[in-house]
Amino acid sequence: MSKKAITLVIAAAWLVIALTIIISKERILSTGNMIMLETEPVDPRDLLRGDYVILNYKISNIDIARLAREPGNYSRGQQININLEPIGKFWQPKAVWLRTKPSGGVNIKGVVRNSQGPALSIEYGIESYFVPEGKGANIEAAIRRTAQGKVAVEVAVDNSGRAMINRVLIDDLPVKFD
């Protein structure tokens, strides 16, 4: 294979990798169910991707003893599914399951980060929201001024349970960086 062909193959591979990520994420956004989740944010910085807001959801910490659940192992590192149902404006956990999908509602996939008995700390892959440099503090200040429950995140969840942040809302208005 000539050097030119190798260059083109590598370039094509890079393009395919980039497009695969973009398309898979765009598919979740376009075809997924939109749900609203309550949050409590803070603002650190990532070396590669700049400022971001850590989003800690109310569904990040759940007590499975209070939910309908499939018997099984809910220990640290386990991938689990949470069945959500809308209560008012926000979606709340209704059941947890490992293999048998319950009917109705939206199912979101997560990984148990910590477990203390029935109390689980779960990561959904939607915990970081990247913001322009220096703008995170402004959002936080706005969040602190507003009453509890006014900060929400619109999340897209596809049929397999993969979730993606669509937008962050403060007082029902989407956050914009102008």
Binding site: W14, L48, R49, G125, E127, E133
Partner: protein, 550 residues
Amino acid sequence: MYSIIGVLFWLVIIYIIVRKFIGHNRKHYGWLQKQIVTWEKGKLISTEQGTAILASYNLKRVDTDRKLDTVKILTLIGAIFVGLGIIFMVASNWQEIPKIVRTAMLLGLTLGTLYAGYYVSYERTDYPLLGKSLFLLAGLFWGGSIALITQIYNIPTSKNWFIFLLWAFPILPVAYFFKNEYTYILSSALFLIWNITYSISNQAANYYYLILVFLLLLPISRLFIKWEWVNVLSLVIAAGCAVFLKQDYFVLIASAGLLVYYLWVRKQEIYLLAAALCFPLWLVAFFVIRQTTPNYYFLLPLALLFYLSYKAGSKAVVTINLVSALVWLNLTLAVYMNIVRQANEFISFSLLHSLIGAVLFAIGMLHKNWHEEQASIYKFTGFILCFIFAYILAFKEVFVSRRPLAPGIMQFNSLFMFLVFIALMAILFWQGYFKNKIGKLEFIGLLVSTVGSMLILSNPAAALVNTIIANIILVVFAVLCLFSGVEAQNPLLFNCGVAFFVLFIITRYVDIFWKLQEKSIFFLVSGIFLIFGGMYLEKKRRQIIERMKS
């Protein structure tokens, strides 16, 4: 602020003075160095004549490739700066351009740079250095593209390991197919970061990293022999990090893998050296996890490492192995003390190590007619152990502030070491080691050190007597170094003797007179003592060394 300006001012003044008096000559020397090469090429003078002229001015031959190196470094730094600039731009998360345009622009730039690297390197062959840097730049842009996409889609920071993997893997073909060492180093560094971030995020050992290094990165490194050490060092760093994360199997596999690689794939000292560094890391990880289980398995690789290091004649590996053996001994003692719940006691710890030092020195002596090149390592390590612990025990406070010793594991092991020492001495006598003067001097030193240690061990509560014994050991060491230096015509050994003597005198002086109420007298007397004592010692030292040289 003013102090910084003041320092800068004086630095500038010193620089000007240096330039004025030395720089001028340097300029002429530089001209001469270049001219000699030109004269040689023009056949005006022969290479021998050129070398003789350079030698008469104490100058080195000019490297004609140096200009090329400068260009290489400049283009490399340029590529790194532009690449980092793009990554920082991504991190600032600028919103003025729509996401899709941003992504397309950066991806276009990345692929364009990759193609430019190919074009400059292979289509137009007149800029090979630029081509290499462009490949690196493409690799950095690729990282920027991945960071941008994952930023836009808010992939959580707990998945940062995935970003490093997505960055490192696709640039590896560039390193392999275009033999580009820059991207190889970048990729290797990114894989190491991937390994560490993966282990931290998932709280699990990343065995994939080991597979990747042994099956892919190390074989590829054959293309860049100069940079082969990069992934070997990465493995040692990864093993070190794994100790903190309590992943002992990861460290064990890394260590064993390096040893296997050395034995069956590539017989280079660097692999043996890395294995010798990684095995003690496994030992530490094992101890951290199982505090009441002694690790006798470690003795197997240690014995193999000793054998291989002797076979390869590697002094560095023997030194590391020796330190590893000491670490093993200490950790094993710690395990047994944990089991019987016995507290560590500093005096018995020091005495044990002093005896271990004597045993090591004796082992060094045994190397007289067998692997003599390794003898100095044992003797040096042994002497350092004896000297350091004698120095510490020479302070009376060490004995006064500690509670009396209760017989225990340390004392038992000290006795065992003493018996080993006696056995070694018997062998050395039988071999006739002590027939020459140097041998006799070494024997006196060892005898004083071990007998002194055993005397302290037998009566640890006698603070004053024990302090005197430790001080006698120190003085004997210093005097023996001086005599051995003269006898062996070895200026280094003689200078060490002088240094030990000075250290001893200063320590005892401070020890005794620091308690005086009037500190001004202490400093005045010390100053005068040091100036005249130093002058006298320096004069004597020079005289003896001159005599040795003549």
